[in-house]
């Protein structure tokens, strides 16, 4: 604001004749509008994405109405077409929330280790390694998941858990081992957890570092242990930002496509156990969109799913930004 005023003032001083002055203020105007135009372009871009997804999904919304949200049907046979969003929406939400449950404790451990426990010389290399984990492309996670994690889950986790915990009355069916492929919501959540771990850990580390040292030093001065400082000083101080970081990870998990497509099994039917194959919005779009006919109802249903995913992740991302923002202002 202040600079704009100074800049305008500078341009107003007649320095080397009126012609020169006009040309520089003209250059200023052009450049400012170029920048502002680019900013407006980004605004319009997001608007256009929402609009295109909504318009593309409109035929499906019109054909099925509100039932689209609650139907488990997915019938692409011509003449008897019926599409419902419930299975992919549920798969997306369940796999992401499971991933958060797996990732958050580990991410907290990493962040605590990096800010308070590790010797200084070790912090940088480990921090870089965690950031490199975030840079690995998602397709690599998918391939690693399919060829390394799926056989491991199939052999050592699914059967063991299914045979033991699956026998618990009333809730045991959620852990039952019904399919033997190893591709399941559980495996997808595991891969997602590994993918979002570095994001959450990096955010947590950054907000932990923002705590004024004098707060921590006072607590240490009273004889508190490191864990007591973390629980009594650092966590209360950074609580909101930590939740914001978790939401950021959730936003990533919701929209992840390739890693999930490789390991979730892509079965569009209602799963009863976390070891059943299922599908998510992103992976059903990736699997079916390229092979569906242009302008067909199926394509419209997939676009409608895309619109739903956009709404869900927009809400989560906006919430995470809001939570992280209020911390910065305080």
């Amino acid at each position: 604001m202040q600079q704009a005023a100074t800049a305008a003032g500078a341009a107003d001083i007649p320095e080397s004749g009126p012609a020169r002055r006009r040309s520089t203020s003209f250059g200023d105007k052009v450049f400012e509008w170029l920048c502002r135009g680019a900013g407006i372009f980004v605004l319009l871009l997001l608007g256009a994405i929402i609009l295109e997804l909504f318009l593309g999904g409109l035929p499906a919304f019109q054909a099925f109405g509100i039932d689209f949200l609650f139907s488990t049907a997915w019938q692409p046979v011509e003449g008897r077409e019926a599409y419902g969003a419930l299975v992919p929406v549920l798969g997306t939400i369940v796999s992401s929330i499971l991933a958060i449950i797996f990732a958050v404790p580990v991410a907290f451990g990493v962040a605590f280790f990096l800010t308070e426990l590790a010797p200084t010389w070790l912090r940088r290399p480990i921090g870089t390694a965690v950031e490199l984990l975030a840079a690995v492309p998602s397709i690599i996670y998918g391939m690693w998941g399919l060829f390394v994690l799926v056989p491991f889950v199939q052999r050592y986790i699914q059967l063991t858990v299914g045979d033991t915990l699956g026998a618990i009355p009333f809730v045991g069916f959620l852990l039952a081992s019904n399919s033997f492929a190893g591709t399941s919501i559980f495996t997808a959540a595991l891969v997602l957890a590994i993918m979002i771990l570095p994001f959450i850990a990096a955010t947590m580390r950054d907000v932990f570092e923002q705590v004024p040292p004098v707060f921590k030093e006072s607590a240490y001065g009273l004889g508190a242990t490191r864990w007591e400082v973390m629980r009594g000083v650092v966590l209360p101080y950074t609580r909101i930002s930590v939740v914001g970081g978790i939401m950021l990870g959730l936003g990533r998990a919701l929209g992840e496509t390739m890693a999930v497509t490789f390991v979730i099994g892509n079965a569009n039917r209602m799963p009863t156990s976390i070891f059943d194959p299922s599908t998510t919005i992103a992976s059903i779009v990736a699997m079916e969109f390229p092979e569906s006919l242009m302008g067909s109802l199926r394509q419209s249903a997939l676009l409608a799913l895309g619109f739903l995913l956009f709404v869900i992740s927009f809400v989560v991302l906006a919430l995470s930004r809001w939570l992280l923002r209020s911390r910065l202002k305080a």
Binding site: M1, Q3, T6, A7, A10, I13, E15, G27, E32, C35, R36, A38, G39, F41, V42, L45, L46, A48, I49, E52, L53, V106, G109, V110, F113, L114, L117, A118, A129, V130, E131, L133, A135, V136, P137, S138, I139, G142, M143, W144, F147, V148, R226, E228, L248, G255, T257, F262, V285, A286, F289, M294, L303, G306, F310, S313, F314, L317, A318, R321
Partner: protein, 302 residues
């Protein structure tokens, strides 16, 4: 609380045993938490190591000159005399689309970042642009693919390389915006005041001084954006789709490394899966190398 009530309580007596027990418990909790945190970090590093070791082990086993120079061939499974295929078409396609996407996205992102840092730090429009750019930064990339499909592929009547490049450009923009804004905001205001004081117009101040002062940061942002889109798969699946022959025609479907990996890894034939691992090694090595270079470029400056 009155003085008489206070006097009713005995003065605290230090009970050595209780204090010792409490101290032991606190120390134990602290030690347990420390070991758990160490374990969590080890777990994170173990995953990174596992991914890298798997990639190196299975990628190098399949990586040879054929992979780099030949185009796709059907499986040689059960027919040892058939010609072996490679990934040259995908490497060329990835280079074209990544390069084009970066070329389109970088100027736009640079201008938006400049707008946010130099013109609209606190204006409502600036806040809105910043928010939207942050949403785009984390928006599911497959939705960007769907958007470009609706906008470009549908009217053009088919998948095309240019649609892939556009989808990648949309992913580049918010990455460049973020780093450009951050880097420009790090510059001291005295620098700007000095330039303005010499009588230079604002646009010259920005282009000739601010950009130059923030150059390494901006370059880092562009490098990170390149690293991000080089491994991007989902949006390309809906825009450039992939191709099994070499094609440099931007108006037609174009191959790319991530798509080739995806298709060959899911083919079920051991020889094609081996080629997919070689491709995965190439992509990851490239992406991580760019990341490390970007980090060093930034560190040497600060």
């Amino acid at each position: 609380m009155s003085a008489s009530a206070m006097a009713g309580y005995a003065t605290p007596v230090k009970d050595i045993d209780v204090a010792r027990a409490l101290g032991r418990r606190r120390k134990l909790t602290d030690t347990v938490v420390r070991w758990l945190c160490l374990l969590a970090t080890a777990l994170g590093l173990f995953f990174l190591a596992s991914i890298l070791v798997t990639l190196l082990w299975r990628g190098f086993a399949a990586l040879d000159w054929t992979v780099l120079t030949k185009e796709f061939q059907p499986t040689t499974f059960g027919d040892p005399d058939a010609p072996k295929g490679g990934l040259s078409h995908a490497i060329v396609g990835t280079l074209i689309q990544t390069g084009l996407g970066t070329l389109i996205g970088t100027p736009i992102g640079l201008l938006v970042g400049t707008y946010l840092a130099e013109y609209a730090r606190n204006s409502p429009l600036g806040q809105a642009v910043r928010f939207v750019s942050d949403v785009l930064l984390s928006a599911p990339s497959i939705l960007i693919g769907l958007f470009v499909y609706q906008l470009v592929v549908l009217p053009m009547g088919g998948f095309s390389g240019i649609a892939g490049a556009m989808a990648l450009a949309i992913i580049v923009i918010p990455v460049v915006v973020r780093t450009t804004e951050d880097m420009l905001q790090l510059l001291p205001n005295t620098l700007r005041e000095a330039v303005i004081g010499l009588g230079a117009p604002k646009w010259k101040m920005i282009t000739l001084v601010c950009y130059r002062a923030a150059l390494s940061g901006i370059v880092t942002g562009v490098l990170l954006a390149v690293a991000r889109i080089a491994g991007e798969t989902a949006p390309l699946l809906l825009t450039s789709f992939g191709n099994s022959v070499m094609s440099t025609d931007l108006g037609r479907a174009m191959a790319s490394l991530p798509i080739a990996i995806y298709q060959q890894a899911n083919s079920g034939f051991p020889d094609l899966i081996a080629i997919a691992w070689a491709g995965a090694l190439l992509v990851t090595a490239g992406v991580l190398a760019i990341n490390i270079i970007a980090r060093f470029a930034l560190r040497s400056r600060i």
